[in-house]
């Protein structure tokens, strides 16, 4: 379809508090065009378009100017400007080359038994009662203690890490500027942790994750102290809320598909497939942001330099043109989802997230039988990084 003007494209009001990625309106827009107009720019809706545009080098990662758009300067804006996510080209490649080996799947894979033991311990604390508040009693401590494990921080300090990380997350919300003092205090706290860790590993290097970052070298190049502390804060920030939210969303999806939950309890080997299938239909990161660095035309739509292009990961993941089966099935072969983004900015921590969630979900399925909402769950807004704030559950204890 040749579209001579973007005015002919469907419009989605993504700033509406009631906007939902799974709405009939979005489904209809996807059927009509690969692309919609939004309050912020354009949105790619179909599987093939998202798959291609994620890797298109005429687009850069698009949230680099977020503090500037909010009139924010100072320590948070400085951190944001220097994190891997907001770097491009040679600077980005250099940092990514230096940090990637610390995330080797061989290294992460060896942590499986520790992830399982953590999951069992958390479930033990509430299991016999047949009820829990899933976010505060499982998802949040699990996500935070995995990060403590990775960084070699005492696990007793998980709550501090979780609180600071959530406070940092306020920077992604609409009240960014008024929350700035809280955000900067959290950043300062996390920098303190990072400084202590870096200093310790310089003196006592080991085989652990932080040592690998501190010792990372390529062709005489290594990460400076400033780069290391910026990176460590990003890893905490990037790994905490996303994992907590995604575990809550997994429970939500499986409660709608109890047969699949029972199957997962019997087949823990499907843990990895369960993570992929949940992230296809119900990812916490429902869109990723790109910005055009030049004028170009894609599938009949003219995209001017500077245009924001949101790639709707969740909408693309349920595009019937790529996945004709509308169901949720952890045994089905599916094309790759976009829950970890893609291209040069593909999620750095995805092996950790995949590994810890693929251990947690089968455990939960085995020990929390027939889970259902007990009272009322409360939710983060559906746009951006979504998930439950509170999710009280009742379940039948399993062995």
């Amino acid at each position: 379809m040749a579209v001579s003007s973007t005015r002919e494209l469907p419009f989605l009001n993504v700033a509406d508090p009631d906007f939902a990625m799974t709405s009939d309106e979005v489904v209809a827009a996807r059927a009509r065009s690969w692309c919609a107009r939004t309050n912020y720019g354009l949105a790619a809706l179909r599987y093939d378009a998202v798959k291609t545009l994620l890797k298109d080098r005429r687009l850069r990662q698009g949230s680099h100017a977020w503090p500037r758009h909010n009139g924010v300067t100072g320590p948070f804006a400085d951190w944001w400007g220097h994190v891997l996510l907001n770097k491009e080209g040679g600077d980005h490649a250099r940092l990514r080359r230096l940090v990637n080996p610390a995330f080797s799947p061989r290294l992460i894979g060896s942590l499986g038994p520790q992830f399982r033991a953590l999951g069992e311990e958390l479930i033990d604390a509430f299991h016999d009662e047949g009820r829990c508040e899933f976010v505060s009693q499982f998802a949040e401590p699990y996500a935070a203690r995995v990060i403590c494990m990775m960084l070699g921080i005492p696990q007793s300090e998980w709550k501090t890490i979780a609180t600071w990380s959530s406070d940092m997350g306020l920077a992604l919300g609409v009240t960014f500027k008024q929350d700035l003092p809280k955000i900067e205090a959290a950043l300062e706290g996390l920098y303190g942790y990072a400084d202590d860790l870096i200093a310790d590993r310089r003196v006592n290097p080991g085989e652990d994750f932080v040592s690998r970052l501190v010792l990372a070298q390529r062709d005489e190049d290594s990460l400076s102290h400033e780069e290391l502390r910026i990176m460590l804060v990003l890893l905490i920030f990037g790994g905490m809320d996303t994992t907590r939210n995604q575990l809550g969303l997994a429970l939500q999806t499986f409660m709608r598909h109890p047969d699949q939950w029972r199957l997962l309890a019997e087949r823990p080997d499907l843990g990895g497939a369960a993570v992929e299938e949940v992230m296809r239909v119900n990812p916490t990161v429902t869109w990723v942001t790109r910005e055009a660095v030049e004028d170009f035309t894609y599938e009949g739509v003219d995209i001017a330099k500077g245009t924001t292009v949101h790639l709707f990961s969740q909408v693309a993941g349920t595009d019937p043109a790529a996945i004709p089966d509308p169901g949720f099935d952890i045994t089905a072969e599916r094309p790759p989802h976009f829950g970890f983004g893609g291209g040069a900015h593909h999620c750095l921590g995805h092996f950790v997230a995949r590994s810890d969630m693929s251990e947690a979900l089968p455990l939960l399925a085995r020990r929390l039988r027939e889970p259902r909402i007990d009272g009322t769950a409360t939710w983060l807004p559906a746009s951006g990084n979504t998930g439950p704030i509170e999710m009280p559950l009742r379940f039948t204890p399993g062995n």
């Binding site: 990637n100 080996p101 893609g342 040069a344 593909h346």
Partner: protein, 62 residues
């Protein structure tokens, strides 16, 4: 050392191009190209590339 890329798995993320730019590159058509039998001095880079591939599409044979 021989590089094998499973193109059924490859999603063109380009993490291998970042890890080992002397062994992997994107062609003008945006598709991945690679040196089938790279020089031994590239071993560390190429091993990093195989490790880091999000789809685990790269295998090395000696």
């Amino acid at each position: 050392m021989k590089i094998c890329v499973d193109l059924n798995k490859c999603q063109d993320h380009g993490q291998c191009v970042i890890a080992a730019p002397d062994a992997f590159a994107f062609g003008d058509d945006g598709k991945l190209t690679w040196v089938t039998e790279p020089d031994e001095r590239l071993r560390q880079d190429v091993e990093d590339a195989a490790d880091v591939c999000p789809e685990q599409a790269i295998t090395l044979e000696d």
